[in-house]
């Protein structure tokens, strides 16, 4: 029993790492974009574009890494539509993000028809770390199932979090990024090209969302289904708020969410929870991730008010040189 419950918990965490990884990429990307002062609600659409482009190119070329690149390019390109509306045309960013979601969903559903039947696609490789097993005490039961044999995208996630944090918080370009998101007028005054910076980080955020999609369709659930993200892009947008625009806290949200998403499946394996394998009652478990997002938002919103943590000051506000309030 002791060992069984340990295995169960480790399984859930492992599932969380896997399922949460695409979400982590998308959340990191949206953090970058929002830190530059642009709200891009089209994450769902960009993820779908990345998933389809990644799948199609990997299938066409036989090389999943070309697929990843194509997915990132697709996400980034699509994000520029939102950039155009938000930065140059100074339109409403909420509506433009919604439009991006519709375009991404519609476009991938039209272009993806040919790929729905395909089951065999070159996948991203799994990394084997046999030494994990040999670690005394915690090796066989904890480290090995968690990290011993996982898809390479997981490790990419582990690397990208510190990298994004370092770029945003500790480098000069990162300072410029934060400047255009907090005080664009001041950034403009010291010679930073606000529009160029924002376009750049909108594109980077889109590329991350594309990566999220491609890692979904090439590693986590390697196939293409219409609307396969099932709201994950929106959850990423929520997790940005939960994370307080901080890459480290995004990790927590993404992996918890990942674990909750898989929970209905994991619970079915538990003998003493017969209701979990009842498909009719299972729908209640399916609600958990979405309810979790709301609860997480409630807590983080309260905390943001108390600690005066919060969104980048210029988030969602177009910058117009010489206009008040900019």
């Amino acid at each position: 029993m002791e060992l069984a419950s340990l295995v169960f918990i480790v399984n859930i965490i492992g599932a969380g790492l896997r399922t949460g990884t695409p979400l982590l990429f998308a959340t990191l990307g949206e953090i970058i974009t929002e830190r530059s002062g642009v709200l891009n609600l089209g994450v769902e659409g960009m993820m779908l574009a990345g998933a389809l482009a990644g799948f199609a190119v990997s299938y066409g070329t036989g090389n999943p890494w070309f697929g990843v690149m194509a997915g990132m390019l697709a996400g980034g390109t699509l994000s520029l539509l939102n950039g155009l509306v938000a930065i140059t045309l100074r339109g409403d960013q909420v509506v433009s993000g919604l439009a991006l979601t519709f375009v991404g969903r519609g476009l991938t559903s039209v272009l993806g028809v040919a790929y729905v039947q395909i089951r065999e696609v070159p996948r991203l490789p799994t990394v084997r770390l046999p030494f994990m097993y040999d670690v005394p005490l915690i090796g066989p039961n904890i480290l090995w199932p968690l990290f011993g044999e996982q898809n390479i995208v997981l490790y990419l996630g582990f690397l990208l979090v510190p990298a994004v944090w370092f770029w945003v918080e500790r480098t000069r370009p990162g300072l410029h990024l934060r400047a255009v998101g907090e005080k664009p007028a001041a950034a403009d005054a010291v010679g930073i090209n606000v529009a160029a910076q924002r376009y750049l980080y909108v594109f980077v955020g889109g590329a991350f969302a594309g990566l999220a999609g491609a890692s979904l369709s090439l590693a986590i659930t390697p196939l293409w289904i219409d609307d396969m993200t099932a709201g994950q892009g929106w959850i990423a947008v929520g997790l940005v708020i939960f994370a307080g625009w901080n890459p480290w806290r995004a990790v927590l949200g993404a992996y918890i969410f990942g674990a909750l998403r898989r929970l209905p499946l994991d619970l079915q394996a538990v003998g003493w929870l017969p209701f979990a394998s009842n498909p009719i009652l299972g729908v209640w478990l399916e609600m958990i991730p979405y309810l979790f997002t709301i609860v997480a938002l409630i807590f983080s919103s309260r905390e943001a008010i108390r600690k005066r943590l919060g969104a980048p000051a210029a988030l969602g506000i177009p910058y117009i040189r010489g206009e008040r309030g900019a």
């Binding site: 433009s96 519609g106 009652l281 709301i294 938002l297």
Partner: protein, 366 residues
Amino acid sequence: MRVKIEPRLDVPRWMPFASIFGALVVALLLGAILLAYGGLDPVTAYWQMLRVGFLEPYSFSDTMVKATPLILAGLGVAVAFKMRLWNIGAEGQLFLGAWATAGVALFWLPPTTPKPIMLAVMTLAGFVAGAVWGAIPGVLKAKLGVNEIISSLMLTYVAIQYNNYFVYGPWAAGGFGLTAPFPKTAWFPRLTDYGNAIPALRGLTAHMGIVYGIIAAVVLYVIFKYSKWGYELKVIGDNPNAARYAGMNLSRNIILTMVISGGLAGLAGMSELAGAVHRLQENFSPGYGFTAIIVAWLGRLNPLGIIIVGYLFGGLLVAGDVIQPAGIPLMIQGIILFCVISADTFTRYRIRIVRAAPVTATAAEV
């Protein structure tokens, strides 16, 4: 030479209409390019959509059936958007409204209940259920500052699962995600019901839901234009700080708005079940609540505009039922929305190409 964008001081009255028209033309052209890229003949696809959605003998009635939930939910979305409250969870509110409607029609009232009472209770239940579902993000926003975009959308996914529980669980009939059909007393009158008296109406499925839509639109139009609440909505939307200084109660208005917004979406679900589906089932809505967002925005949040746009998009959905692949209407909707927000820029700003004249020359002229 460079491009200069400056705000327009006065917007000509024809401008918003011209920009929508321009946006539609551009959107259809872009859609055509994408269709061609996807290996389809755009002329055939568009002609088929136009024919099926608007030109066939049954088109008007069929399009009206699809337009009804779009108009009702679109009005709901518009109420919230008017005060810049981004309720994008109309789909979930619609599902909850439909759920309560089915509860009344199948379980909570006997099937022998007289039709007017049955329909009145169903209407009430649909509105209230949608309103409750809309009130949750409203209260979270007003009391705890929770972002309503995310919460309303997350609740949509919850609502769909909730609905699945009932259609597969306690309310299932046969186990395929369906309830039993509603008793006839729970059906909205349809045009075809009068087919015996007026043969021309035979086979026409347009139902009374559209009357709800038109009444709701007129009521909202009057509220927006003449009432104090309508005025407050607009002020809060334009400038929440000014509204607060003027003594308007923001959190009460947020909740009230979400209640009405959700209630209208719930009514859309009710009318779809009473008028068209006649039972509760899984996925009975092809995303009406999401398309309603586009309808509301394209209709300029104007109730009468929403009726027109709702009708056009109803046609798009009717066409979507026969056109393959089914994602085409969704894609075109997204492109249209993009073009419309882009075109808004040309309404609000004047874009001029300025020659880089030396500053001294201007000084010399003076």
